[in-house]
Symmetry: C2
Subunit: 436 residues, 2 copies
């Protein structure tokens, strides 16, 4: 089976660990069976391969996430990059066209679409397998997964099935209800709509051509910006008459807030931190190098990164968005395809960052108009090219790069460099790329 994972937009609801370039799905707070930390996207990928070792996974995502996905999953997955953000209908269309036109997937194959961010048991992916099997049987054009509600939530859309059976035709879809309405839905065997659906690739390709004027994947990619922002649910699911739903009654958590994340984190403390004996029901994530001491904290979450520090009552944390929008949106930490980038100091006219490159990785050959850079190698080996001149990099080596100078770095081993950027204007936009 082919699985398209939708790796959605950046979010601030898990600030300071999520930011404009680092989505919540890349924060490593879970653990695999061997006790290694893993992120949502790593966990989802691991679960899929445990349940369906043959599954081919394609991640539909934005440019800004491609580096982090590559950093976390390597080349085990295909990445279908959207040229810009256009909601789930265009994103799924583009991924389907990619499978059809680039990856050569036959039209009769089953494709399942899953979000990348629920915290679930492996049984969830067994249910996705079942969706695939039902698609192959051809009983309906679209086959959905519905989550058995554990309480009458007002936060989710509902699927009303014809019956309470494990597989049932869908009667109708309902928007987020109020409490009473939710209770009435549940009495009618309703299920939460968690955005999981499966179809034959040919079904969607045909649908796509009937709705959008394009020839193939490359053409769709080129005109992607002109597509209407619309969700797959509105554009396709809710209009499809031939549609069935499979009940999933296992564990399922939407870890979109710190309150929920704190429930499922592998450890109460990640990073340097100590809690005294009077702390209760409190979790700490510390990505900084300095320790956190927590005393007498009850029902709190404390999270610290290079971007900032959150100290919040768990309940209150769901309302953090307006506050996060008020604070500086400078990004101080980013996962890049080649490693990590950490801002250590910012002052008018200069910025000091630490580049930690993984062995074998390369920076692109590029230049800046408005800043010079001073690199000091603090660990590892590599080489640099500056205006065509190659130089070996060893610990203690210092390289000065003037404005306009083309430069790149290649890491032979893991390589750490302190980079001092100096200039009146220091901006990520000040970058020209070249072929080497």
């Amino acid at each position: 089976m082919n699985i398209i994972l939708l790796s959605g937009g950046s979010g601030k609801r898990l600030w300071p660990l999520s930011n404009d370039v680092r989505s919540k799905q890349f924060i490593q707070l879970f653990k695999d069976e061997e006790g290694n930390y893993e992120s949502m996207v790593q966990r989802v990928y691991r679960q899929i391969t445990e349940v369906s070792p043959e599954a081919k996974v394609t991640i539909a995502t934005s440019k800004s996430q491609a580096s982090a996905i590559y950093h976390q999953l390597g080349d085990k997955v295909s990445i279908c990059v959207e040229p810009c953000r256009r909601d789930t209908f265009p994103a799924i269309l583009l991924a389907a066209a990619y499978l059809h036109d680039e990856a050569g997937v036959p039209e009769e194959e089953a494709v399942a679409v899953c979000p990348v961010d629920p915290y679930v048991e492996n049984r969830y992916y067994e249910c996705v397998e079942k969706l695939g099997a039902l698609v192959r049987q051809g009983a309906a054009s679209l086959t959905l997964m519905g989550i058995e509600p554990t309480y009458p939530s007002e936060k989710y859309g509902y699927i009303i099935p014809e019956s309470g059976g494990e597989v049932s035709p869908v009667k109708e879809f309902k928007e987020k209800p109020d409490l009473k309405t939710a209770e009435a839905y549940i009495a009618r065997h309703a299920l939460w709509n968690a955005g999981v659906f499966a179809f034959q690739l040919g079904y969607l390709i045909e649908k796509a051509h009937s709705m959008v004027d394009f020839t193939d994947y490359r053409d769709l990619y080129a005109k992607y910006e002109t597509l209407t922002k619309i969700s797959f649910d509105y554009a396709v699911v809710e209009k499809e008459p031939s549609i069935q739903v499979v009940r999933y009654a296992g564990g399922w958590k939407d870890v979109g807030t710190w309150n929920m994340m704190a429930e499922v984190m592998a450890d109460d403390i990640k990073g340097k931190a100590l809690m005294d004996a009077t702390c209760e029901n409190t979790q700490i994530v510390n990505e900084l190098n300095v320790p956190i001491i927590a005393m007498g904290c009850k029902n709190m979450v404390i999270a610290a990164s290079g971007d900032g520090i959150l100290v919040s009552d768990k309940e209150a944390s769901s309302h953090m968005k307006p506050l996060v929008e008020k604070v500086s949106t400078d990004v101080h930490f980013a996962e890049k395809s080649w490693g990590t980038y950490t801002v250590m100091d910012v002052q008018p006219g200069s910025m000091t960052v630490k580049l930690s490159m993984r062995a074998g990785e390369c920076l692109s050959y590029h230049s800046h108009d408005y800043r010079e850079e001073v690199w000091t190698v603090v660990s590892g080996k590599g080489r640099s090219v500056v205006d065509g001149m190659e130089q070996i990099l060893r610990v203690g080596d210092v390289v000065t790069v003037a404005p306009g100078c083309r430069h790149m770095i290649e890491a032979e081993t893991d390589l750490d460099i302190i980079e001092v950027q100096i200039g009146e204007t220091i901006s990520v936009a000040d970058k020209h790329k070249y072929e080497l």
Copy 2:
């Protein structure tokens, strides 16, 4: 009058703002009338000069604090540096010998000794003036200030006076009592002993010679390490038959814990921080460059510095010492005589720091055996000397200093330098000083 301010040891009870080299008296959380932040030591000095413009202030302190005092008060005060820590009796002796033998203060002059860390009103220093006046009248050998208790505290020693009058002979001294005993003391007009006393300089010099074998200040300084660790209270005050006490009934706070500090801080927030509307009775001090967001915090104190982050219930914060002792004691921020020193990154084999020098200040001429240094100037102007070679320093200049190389930096304007230290062993002990 001469005032000796005792600037006591480093402490961890206001961690992470106080550390081994930065005592609580240097943290700037108060404000003067013009709204400028000031530290305990700056506030005390300001209050003394407001009440007694003619007072000559000498600060008795350790080597490690001398730089911070000079940084905060400049040369407005004399600093009497103890060669090592030896409790209050030796410290006061040394300061008295300094006044007598080095500053030429006549023996009949009044000297008052005050701790540097209580949070008080100006009336407190009016009371110190009164102590001086009483000393000049010669009614007793020692004149103490006693603090009118506001509750039967078990934390303080008590002075039992002969009478409840404003000035009274002292009947006896009592150790920290239990609650009931404290209540009984208060019924007898008892006062808290806050370590403020005054005497004629000649009285103490005579006392000193009767108790310690020394010729003058320099001789005492030379044999300081051999002196017994004993408090002035035990060694002198409690044995003196001719002793009186002056009642002080004004504001007095011992800001030794975050709980107390939070009560007297000038602002609920200092530094980059936001609190949501559901926070109550919470104070935040943030010395980091990144913002803190606090939500739903009740009765808490949050403090962040380059050394770490404290998130504590106010009550619980008084018990932080054992936790602080468990976390790394690496110092990441220090006030030096020439400016500030901030550690930005530490990894095996390297450390990156930021030096912020004030205009006109100089680093000593020194070398390191086991590390090289790479300096990048990020703002300001200055000059360096490396192995006798002088070099002008401008923004963007890079200087490499090999192990064994003698070097110094002089700041012409305020000068910021990113210094990358590289070596197997990086230690403050790896330093040789030279004359230039």
